[in-house]
Amino acid sequence: MERINRDFKVNKNFHQAKWDEPIIFELHKNGERGVVAPKADEEIARTVGDGISKIPEGMLRDEAPNLPEISQARVVRHYTRLSQMTLGADVNMEIGQGTCTVKYSPKINERLARLPEMTEIHPLQDESTVQGILEIMHKTDLFLREISGMDRFSFQPSGGSQAIMAMAAIARAYHESRGEGDTRDEIITTIYSHPSDAAAPAVMGYKIIYINPDENGYPDLEAFKAAASERTAAFFIANPEDTGVYNTRVQEFTETMKEVGALSCYDQANANGLLGITRAKEAGFDMSFFNLHKTFSTPHGCGGPATGALGVLDHLVKFLPGPLIDFDGEKYFQNHDIVDSANSIGKVRMFNGVAPVVLKAYSWIMSLGAEGLYEVAKVAVLNNNYMFRKLMELDVVDAQYIRGKQRVEQVRYTIEKLFNDTGITTEDVQRRMMDFGMHYWASHHPYYVAEPMTLEPTESPSKEDIDEYVETLKHIFQEAYENPDLIKSAPHQSTCHQLKEESLDNPAEWAITWRSYLKKTSV
């Protein structure tokens, strides 16, 4: 037998799983069953009858819902196949989803979160019966205090954006408590912070003011000072911003807010490269939040469940959504005093925290300790700057701002030159990357950087992974000059071919459910 040649840097033989599964409704077969629900005890049935004839007149459903009937094995096969057509972090080297901090999520943490002592507990159980989870929540609060310098955390918000909304609500409650609720109606953010830093405060009724970057990519300090006034309620910013540029003058920003009596709110979605390096408190923030599903690995779950752990300084604790978890030296308990007070914003979520997410974050922190978190930050930044260097060596890649200086957690590159030379857009490259089993993200909209490419290696990939990612990009950039049609028509080796997208924006044609599709396409 001859030696098989594996001497290649780009995996051209990749093909993503493509099962071409039907829609679940197409698997329907009259009479098949997936699972059988428990029946009431015979004696109960004898005593009370069929149960449903007690339903008041006019409220009984006259026809069963039109759900499909499918045998159990086929349901398992269907969803297992769909999972195989999903490029989770377990199956690809996560580098391409910049700003999302997609890192390795340890399996042991998931197993712990799925023990019955976690899954089979009700949120309204007596505190004496849930000491375990309360201890986890309290200790995770203590850890996050140390990591951020904030004085108290609430696990109420179940995502980063909900945490932003809660911070805006706290800003509102804070200013109302000082008799300035009506006059402070503006919130300042930056164009390179997450769109939710603008959108969620707007839901709370705020007028939004955007600060543009200066020539170095820092939020324009002069423009910021000009925008700050007695109308300002708060300032919402990520640091580093989505460009990966760390705002070196952050203290001047938070100081400016103090001078005008407004609050500084830190979106720590990009905190991964800063763990153990620098904290929200020293930078002058009053509030901050961590995405436990990002920085603390819990993982992303296709987009939640998640937690936006929200920390504040002492002077804002009374406004937090609750209950908060306290320890009296003997037992852990839910402190309802704050949430029931007139100051608190009340609640943003039905039950406290997304318990399994908090548990996984706890376990992750415990597996690393302070030294490990420091290593996470150092390696994430090492990986990012290593990749930054490799990519900037390429003729078609550039990155605006602070030339020659380091970036923190990710970099927003531009491949404008590639576009100008070949007509290949960042979206074209994105689709082609899928032919090699890799994610690639451009940017939020609108694009402030031309033909953007936002990459974030985190601490999880190896040097070889990063090299392979860069080699793959190089390969595609070369294709752009030699065979642009191959890229324009990509993907070729993914789960499906290019979408016809027009219908998705046309009310007469869009189909958000199968029944709607059947109606709109019937002949």
Binding site: I23, G34, A37, P38, G51, I52, I55, G58, M59, L60, R61, N66, E69, I70, H78, T80, L87, G88, D90, P106, R111, P116, H122, P123, T129, Q131, I133, I136, E146, S196, A199, V203, T248, G276, R279, A283, H300, C302, G303, R349, M350, L359, M366, S367, G369, E371, E375, V379, K405, M434, H445, H497, K500, S503, D505, A511, I512, T513, W514, R515
Partner: protein
């Protein structure tokens, strides 16, 4: 002082010193300390953080965490009658199997190509819930049922251009707080009274309060107190006569047997998905859905992502994508998009789809029927106890009901304490949130309760009163 790192950590491949040195060299640095050069010195930490010593071995970590969480006492080892927004239902093994798949568990914001499975599974979830509520549009799920209700009301506010919503006085107080916080800048919540005997919404009070400022009449079916709100159509009619929308929060586990709100005039339906295949998870299994008719004026007001089906350039191939993406805050309009969108509860959406695919129409009918039989039996058994009234309201319950302990001279707290000694978690104490009801508790019975569970409860109650 040089801070300490953690070399050769199993989760960090490039924590190996040789590799680090090689990479540092490539970028022209000599030491990891030279990274983070952009962070001002005065705000850099000068020593390692004060955190517990790491637990390096996986085995010891497992022991450590288990030791803590084993302090929890579960609803498997006890008999649980708590509900009130999170309910104990059977979770089919396949729900856990699918949401444990690493591909789903660790995916995030990929594109419709490399994440086709995620898009299809969520499109199917939307489609399956659509059948349950008999409406054409369902969203990718939001944080929980309360958030879904809050968003439904903001949508109604924008659609009608009005500033007030009418809500039932018997609404869960926590849900009220969430909705109020979320809607405050645009909508005022006004409570509508209820009939003291039946708990049903007071239609005369509703008529008095519905006017040209009313954006929506909001009610829950079953109500927070567990009974079926019988006047669905009349309530919707009153809303519509005032030019308002009818917004209904529903328990999806009831929809095999109880009419969906779209059949009695609801314009927007919201609800909590947790009963459909999510463990209670100490309240971590919550996820909210919102549904409407397929009309542009509704669809364009959703803040959530809506995954649609579409064709591809290849004959016979399904594709999926975001419908009207630009209406969201992820689109070009940022804060001028509809509310905000972000990471919510997609994995629970996929799981709810799996649940409905498994249950099918027959399963959902059986589920509803078993629950109602068990509840009626439980009410009858508890009502036999001297001085105890079940249910406090003279209406038909679905899976929850209020037990009135006022005549017993005992507080719910005392009673629940006694029950706990016998391995029973008694119902939610309502005395604080609804003082007008005195010592009353909200009990939840579902398909997981056996006759023996219910009998034990009744016996234990008798014994402790």
């Amino acid at each position: 002082m040089k801070l300490k790192g953690f070399k050769s950590h199993p989760y960090i491949p490039n924590s190996v010193p040789d590799v680090q040195n090689e990479m540092l060299k490539e970028i022209g640095l000599a030491d990891l300390e030279e990274l983070h050069s952009e962070i001002p010195e005065e705000i850099k930490l000068k020593k390692n953080m004060d955190l517990p010593k790491p637990i390096v071995s996986e085995y010891e970590l497992e022991r450590h965490v288990k030791e803590i969480i084993k302090k929890n006492k579960t609803c498997e080892d006890n008999i649980n009658f708590l509900g009130g927004g999170c309910w104990q239902h059977h979770v089919p093994a396949i729900c856990d199997e699918i949401n444990s798949r690493g591909e789903f568990l660790t995916a995030y914001g990929g594109e419709p190509y490399n994440d086709l499975g995620r898009f299809q599974a969520l499109f199917e979830y939307q489609s399956l819930v659509a059948e349950l509520v008999d409406m054409d549009v369902v969203n990718v799920p939001t944080m929980d049922g309360a958030q879904a209700a809050a968003t439904a009301l903001r949508m109604a506010g924008r659609i009608t251009g009005r500033t007030e919503v009418l809500v039932p006085a018997l609404m869960d107080r926590d849900k009220f707080k969430i909705v109020n916080n979320y809607c405050k800048s645009a909508l005022k919540l006004i409570e509508v009274d209820y009939d003291k005997k039946t708990g049903q919404l007071d239609l005369e009070d509703l008529k008095r309060k519905a006017n040209e400022n009313t954006a929506a009449v909001f009610f829950e079916n079953p109500s927070f107190m567990g009974f079926i709100e019988e006047g669905g159509q009349e309530i919707s009619d009153i809303a519509h006569e005032a030019g308002a929308l009818s917004v209904v929060c529903v328990d999806p586990s009831s929809l095999g047997v109880i009419k969906p709100p779209s059949h009695y005039g609801a314009d927007i339906v919201a609800g909590e998905l947790q009963p459909l295949g999510m463990h209670m998870n100490y309240g971590g299994g919550q996820a909210g859905f919102t549904a409407t008719r397929d009309e542009e004026k509704f669809v364009m007001e959703f803040p959530s992502r809506l995954f649609g089906i579409t064709s591809t350039i290849e004959n016979g191939e399904y594709g999926f994508g975001d419908v009207a993406y630009d209406r969201t805050s992820f689109g070009h309009h940022r804060h001028e998009g509809k509310e905000y969108v972000g990471t919510q509860t997609a994995l629970w959406g996929i799981t709810a789809g799996v649940y409905l695919a498994l249950m099918g129409p027959v399963g959902m009918v059986e589920l509803g029927q078993t629950i109602m039989q068990n509840v009626q039996y439980a009410i009858a058994k508890i009502d036999e106890i001297d001085d105890v009234k079940a249910s406090a309201f003279d209406s038909t319950s679905f899976k929850e009901f209020v037990v009135d302990f006022n005549k017993t001279g005992r507080t719910v707290e005392e009673i629940n304490g006694k029950l706990m000694e016998k391995g029973i978690f008694g119902g939610k104490d309502l005395s604080k949130d609804f003082p007008q009801m005195g010592q009353a508790a909200l009990y939840c019975v579902t398909e997981i309760h056996t006759k023996s569970d219910i009998d034990k409860l009744a016996d234990a109650l008798k014994a402790c009163l």
